[in-house]
């Protein structure tokens, strides 16, 4: 699914205050894995996530997503790939404030060229799956944090991506809703077989995943299998 070889990324390359963020990352993720990347802030975990999500580029090395080499892609091609292969869940939800829940969920399909009726019906289906059927016509600011994140999950799911990348998905939520969100993600991973990659600094989140990668100063410090994942908050 994901194959990363000796990946390097430096911010402000060539300038005196150049920042070498990722220093030769090697990493493999198989389809259907449920893993987390941990690390202190500044360890490069968010940058790695952005590179994996084709939201950011890298300098040297190789990154192959689902058999496609992601390197020097045009904006258009990158957008296409993001649309079909990757779903995102963000700490700050990143819902479009003037669109209601259903429209937010349907948006990826709009860029995929799915007709309105069909994508709205599909969006309703996903919202109902996540228990938000009654909130379909609510705007984001009429929803609670947990509800917003569930809308974001539905939005990430709707284009049936091969991988969902979550950047601190519980960062803005209390423990009860955090637990709820992680349970949903685990559920999606099991039922739909979608690879889940969560970037977090919360140990409780990492404990719930099958595999934990620790990043430190732009390098992988450890890559451990978690034989006994538990969801406890």
């Amino acid at each position: 699914m994901i194959k990363i070889r000796n990946l390097n990324k430096t911010y402000n390359l060539g300038s005196p205050n150049a920042l070498h963020v990722l220093k030769g990352i090697d990493m493999d993720v198989k389809g259907g894995e449920f893993l987390s990347i941990m690390g202190a802030s500044g360890s490069g975990k968010s940058t790695l996530l952005n590179v994996i999500g084709i939201l950011d580029n890298y300098d040297t090395g190789e990154y192959i997503l689902d058999g496609t080499l992601v390197k020097g892609l045009s904006e258009t091609r990158a957008a296409e790939l993001r649309n079909r292969k990757v779903g995102f869940i963000f700490q700050s939800f990143n819902l479009i404030s003037f669109k209601n829940a259903m429209e937010n969920v349907a948006l990826p399909l709009y860029y995929n060229g799915v007709p309105r009726k069909k994508r709205n019906a599909l969006a309703m289906e996903y919202l109902e799956k996540l228990g938000l059927g009654e909130h379909a016509d609510h705007l984001p600011n009429e929803l609670s944090g947990g509800q917003k994140q569930r809308v974001a999950i539905a939005r990430a799911l709707i284009s049936r991506p091969s991988i969902i990348l979550a950047d601190e998905p519980t960062g803005a939520l209390d423990t009860t809703t955090s637990r709820e969100v992680i349970e949903i993600m685990r559920d999606v991973n099991l039922k739909e077989g979608i690879t889940m990659l969560i970037v977090t600094h919360e140990a409780a989140v990492a404990k719930a995943t099958d595999r934990v990668i620790y990043l430190r100063d732009g390098k992988i410090e450890s890559d451990k299998h978690n034989p006994n994942p538990v969801i406890e908050f």
């Binding site: 968010s46 700050s92 429209e103």
Partner: protein, 414 residues
Amino acid sequence: MFDLLGEIIATMRKNKLRTFLTGFAVAWGIFMLIVLLGAGNGLQNGVQSNMTGLATNYENLWPGWTSMPYKGLRADRRIRFDERTVEFVRRSFPEIEYLTGILFHTTQSVSYGEEYGTWRVLGASAEATHIHNMIIRKGRFINEIDDLHKRKVIFIPRLVEEILFKNGEESLGKYVLVDGIAFQVIGTYDWVDGSTDTSIFTPLSTSTMLYDRGRGINRIDFTVKGMASIEEADDFDLRLRQAMGAYLGFDPTDTSAMYIWNNAKNSLQIQNVFRFINIFLWVIGFASLMAGIVGVANIMLVTVKERTREIGIRKALGATPWSIIKSVIIEAVFITTVAGYIGIMLGVGLMELVNKAIGSGAGEGGITAFKDPTVGLGIVFSALAVLVICGVVAGLIPSLRATKIRPIEAMRAD
């Protein structure tokens, strides 16, 4: 395509203030342009329509009093025109087209049967019909034979006919008493410019015989061929003064001895004034258009922050740069076109209203300062095109920048 429009309309609807302000700036710019240029055109049309009563190359002379001694003659002499003066003017200036002497007489009464009134009688010769722009409604104007035989005939305005001849009674051939002398009606007329002037025309020879009290002919009216510039008009007037001064005995520089009204020069001057007014209005109109453009640009730039975030999210969800640029362009075109159209409708509506109000107020009056305040469609639509293009550019620049920013950075912008 429908999907794209739906998405854009939804975006606009959810950003009402932005949409409204952008649209308002455009509508206001177009509205002001139309009102200003319309007002300019209205003023010009109004003034020009007031001048249609006379040929544009019309000129006239009337005698005054000398204010300077001339060749041993003292100052303060009355200058007098007579039939020979009229012939002298015609002989001396081959560029004169049509010419007539005019003699005024204010009547005591003009009556027919029980009906009567008091009007001015103008003695004029046959050529006056080419100098004064009137529409002959019935019969004919004075001709050479009338003049030669000093016939007692009158050519009356329709307003006078309506007063004297009640219940649609035929006026042609009837005898009307002018200060007790019977005159036969030979025709009726209206002024081209709708003036309510009620001059009754009679042959100059008849009028001289009956009404000249030793002061001679009051005025000489004529048209001149080929006065295309103010310089040519000035040159003609100078030669006229010199010839008349030598003939009647006054200093050519003595402007009070003889007065000249040069309509050609006058209308050329008015044209110059209007050229200036039009340039001025264009400058103001352009400035208000610029204000509209700045308004549009400003609003587009102010909203770039929230837009940046939105564009970041859309990009993360798989929007291609082109799809974002496309939607921004169509949004800008849509808003500016619709708003521009509204501005055009309001501007044209206001001008129509003004036209109607003034038209009904001055319908009978003849003199209007304002008429047909319209603007060419070409001008309006090119102004709209300028605004649409500026709206697109103003929307596009920040959006292009936003599409270049990596989505993560764009989304962090809060």
